[in-house]
Amino acid sequence: MGKNLRLKAARAAKDMSQKQLADAVGVTRQTIIAIENGDYNPTIRLCIDICLTLGKTLDQLFWEGAEHGEN
């Protein structure tokens, strides 16, 4: 699982720190770091919470097909 740079970019675009995003979705900062680094595969519930917080869709943040040119 590669790094999720789209999540990092979306968070930076919203001018949010990892801590602020973590607080908004109810997880620890280490969990956000792990998701961004591709070390942890979040549940769909957490993905949706992150998307709602950052104002993005699941496709935009977590769909890997776009990254690999599959769709």
Binding site: R11, K19, D23, V27, T28, Q30, T31
Partner: protein, 145 residues
């Protein structure tokens, strides 16, 4: 999710560490039984089991702290009550530590009982746990982008 509950990644890591610690415990107890059968007494009976238990629990504790699964999210900002309780616990532990040290010093460890030593270890462990929780909270709540 409550204030002190762990998040999904922490729970996953904690369960994994717990399962492996349990298997380790079972394996070590079995190995101990095997050694006893062959007449190898590396430690006397109750103490050997306690040491094995400590190894299992210690590995579990170290791993959940290492994985950041010891303190959950949302416990960064202590309320006034929380601060009071923490202060009281800390004061009690320090007082216990001082009293125990004084007791051991005055008796010159001549009583032969393990009570003071156990009390000293108990307070030291309590202080270490409090320090660890404080350190983890600081680390979890560090602001960086």
């Amino acid at each position: 999710m409550g204030r002190t509950n762990l998040d999904e990644r922490q729970l996953q890591k904690k369960h994994k560490a717990g399962n492996q610690a349990f298997i380790l415990l079972a394996f070590l107890l079995l190995a101990d039984m095997g050694l006893q059968n062959y007449g190898i007494h590396w430690l006397e009976y109750p103490l050997s089991n306690y040491v094995i238990f400590l190894v299992g629990v210690g590995s579990y504790l170290v791993r959940i702290i290492w994985n950041g699964s010891y303190v959950g999210p949302g416990s960064g900002n202590l309320t006034a009550n929380g601060r009071s309780i923490l202060g009281a616990v800390l004061a009690i532990l320090v007082a216990l530590c001082v009293i125990t040290a004084a007791w051991m010093g005055s008796s010159g460890k001549t009583s032969g009982g393990t009570g003071p030593a156990i009390l000293m270890i108990f307070t030291a462990v309590g202080l270490v746990i409090l320090g660890t929780v404080f350190w983890i909270r600081c680390r979890n709540n560090r602001e960086d982008a």
